[in-house]
């Protein structure tokens, strides 16, 4: 599987069906077959910003889209899909907020790791950082 490609800006729309105002990933690359790395710059007009902070549902949505984009990335790299797959969150588990919420202009960096996959459901673990500080960890099941 070719894991050299980096999706960003307009290209990210090839991996996700979400559009503004709820497009919550602006870059995606692969670390290896099972691990993806997603990013998001928090702009002041982000719908999940409140009083200058990027709120918890925004973090969870960003993690879900990071996972969903990585599933599409793999499918496109493997040649089993041409476009973004439609993914829904089946379950959020063990979400933990670590310290302060991110602020406007922060850049989120999220690692998603595929844990297991049964039929159309894929289980991920995720860790979101701002600079080197972990802001959230989560386990998620995505139904694609």
């Amino acid at each position: 599987m070719d894991i050299q490609k980096i999706y960003k800006d307009e290209d990210i729309k090839k991996l996700l069906n979400q559009r503004n105002p709820i497009l919550m990933v602006d870059s995606l690359s692969a670390v290896d077959d099972l691990n993806g790395l997603a990013g998001l710059t928090i702009h002041a007009d982000n719908m999940f910003c409140y009083n200058g902070k990027f709120t918890e549902p925004g973090l969870i949505e960003h993690i879900a889209q990071s996972a969903s984009a990585f599933v599409s990335y793999r499918a496109i790299a493997e040649g089993t899909a041409d476009n973004a797959l439609l993914g829904f969150i089946g379950e959020v588990k063990k979400f933990k907020l670590c310290g302060e919420l991110p602020s406007v202009n922060d850049i989120l960096s999220t690692t998603v790791s595929i844990q297991s996959s049964v039929m159309n459901i894929t289980m991920f673990s995720a860790e979101t950082k701002v600079n080197d500080r972990v802001v959230a960890t989560c386990q998620m099941k995505l139904s694609v």
Partner: protein, 123 residues
């Protein structure tokens, strides 16, 4: 925090039965989030359900709450503002020191469950 209340959903009525709070809500199909979730196919984002449960919990405690943990949240039936413009949010909180644990669900008020939720807030 009123990120969604008043724009994404309205609370029509509330009740409290022995520490279990119920909120009858209405979803607005014209909220801007549906422009992007998904174009031409409005589906209520799961995280907006998590946020509605938080905002209703804040109404119970009359103070801002931070979502410190979600131990488990399951999305059982797809919620759309087209098929269901009304729903019922049920919340049972347990307070321990600074932390508030809640068990919550979103249903159609009858047989259909959209979301089940177990989480923790800090004030």
């Amino acid at each position: 925090m009123k990120m969604l209340e008043g724009s994404y959903f309205d609370v029509l009525s509330t009740s409290n039965d022995n520490g279990t709070y119920s909120f009858d809500i209405r979803l607005h199909s014209n909220h801007k989030v549906y422009d992007g979730h998904f174009p031409g196919n409005p589906v209520s984002p799961g995280v907006c359900s998590i946020e509605m449960i938080r905002e209703c919990s804040e109404m119970i405690f009359s103070k801002p709450l931070t979502i410190s943990a979600v131990s488990q949240c399951r999305f059982i039936t797809v919620l759309t503002p087209v098929s269901y413009d009304k729903a019922v949010i049920t919340i049972t909180p347990t307070v321990t020191g600074d932390s508030i644990k809640v068990v919550a669900s979103i249903t159609d008020g009858a047989d259909t469950t959209f979301v089940t939720y177990k989480g923790e807030y800090v004030a």
